[in-house]
């Protein structure tokens, strides 16, 4: 879905150069998440997904040298 957005706005040479699973352990590093919220996630999400809740991806892309129409501001 995100890569499609890159394509739709006009980026080219779109490439995912890294992809890493984020589970509850990884989220626990972030001070943004209180212990209570992490427990809520643990309870709300099936155990089988606890090690892969979301994925961190690194995307590189390029603005083409020429664009047919300038993006609206």
């Amino acid at each position: 879905m995100l890569l499609k957005k890159f394509f739709n706005v006009g980026f080219v040479e779109i490439e995912v150069v890294e992809r890493t699973a984020f589970g509850l352990d990884e989220l626990g590093r972030y001070p943004l998440f209180a212990p209570e919220f992490l427990q809520f996630l643990r309870d709300a999400i099936p155990t089988v997904r606890h090690r892969e809740l979301v994925f961190s991806i690194a995307v590189t892309a390029r603005r083409p040298e020429a664009i047919a129409a300038a993006p609206a501001r």
Binding site: E18, T20, Y30, P31, A44, S56, R62, A66
Partner: protein, 188 residues
């Protein structure tokens, strides 16, 4: 389906990132090398809240102009500033007043004179068309309810042939609705 309006999402993000406190390098040490971290101000390291290392994939060259979208306390801004050198320039953009202040302080502490921090939303980049060589961003796109707008703005400010290096979180399988509706989930 959007679970929050633009205004609600903005308020949640401003609150979360304005109040966040950290005294460790748990996040930073997961993505950056020890050699990179030991040369940076401790606050920039402690307040690193990204999900990857966009500078690593940006292929920055001396003299380039870089825009760091949602720069936070500035860890990627500072690494980019080092990479582009004194002939280059790095602009950090963040809508959270506390983070603007932190990143300015961290840039000064690091002696980076080629860094400029601007307040503002990533959906309305306060830069002219075709004014930067590279756009980087780390764990910020997922905080916006207008991702396509952010990307369109990024394209606008890039020079022809310019590059983007974006690290972000994506959901490959749906999470329970209760989780998706949680403000804490949006902010993280």
């Amino acid at each position: 389906m959007a679970h929050f309006t633009d205004d609600q999402a903005r308020a949640i993000i401003l609150d979360a990132y304005g109040q966040v406190r950290s005294d460790g390098a748990a996040v930073a040490s997961a993505f950056y090398t020890a050699a990179e971290l030991e040369t940076l101000p401790s606050d920039a390291v402690a307040m690193a809240l990204g999900v990857g290392h966009p500078v690593r994939h940006a292929a920055l060259r001396a003299g380039e102009t870089v825009l760091d979208l949602g720069c936070g306390a500035g860890i990627d801004t500072l690494l980019a500033a080092r990479a582009v050198g004194p002939a280059g320039r790095v602009i950090g953009l963040d809508m959270t007043p506390e983070m603007v202040e932190r990143s300015r302080r961290n840039a000064a502490s690091a002696g980076m004179v080629n860094v400029e921090i601007r307040p503002g939303p990533i959906e309305e980049i306060p830069l002219p068309d075709r004014s930067v060589d590279v756009v980087i961003s780390n764990g910020v796109l997922n905080l916006s309810t207008r991702k396509s707008r952010v990307l369109a703005e990024s394209l606008r400010v890039l020079r022809p042939g310019g590059r983007a290096s974006i690290a972000d979180l994506v959901l490959e399988d749906a999470l329970p609705e209760d989780v998706l509706k949680s403000p804490a989930a949006l902010a993280g």
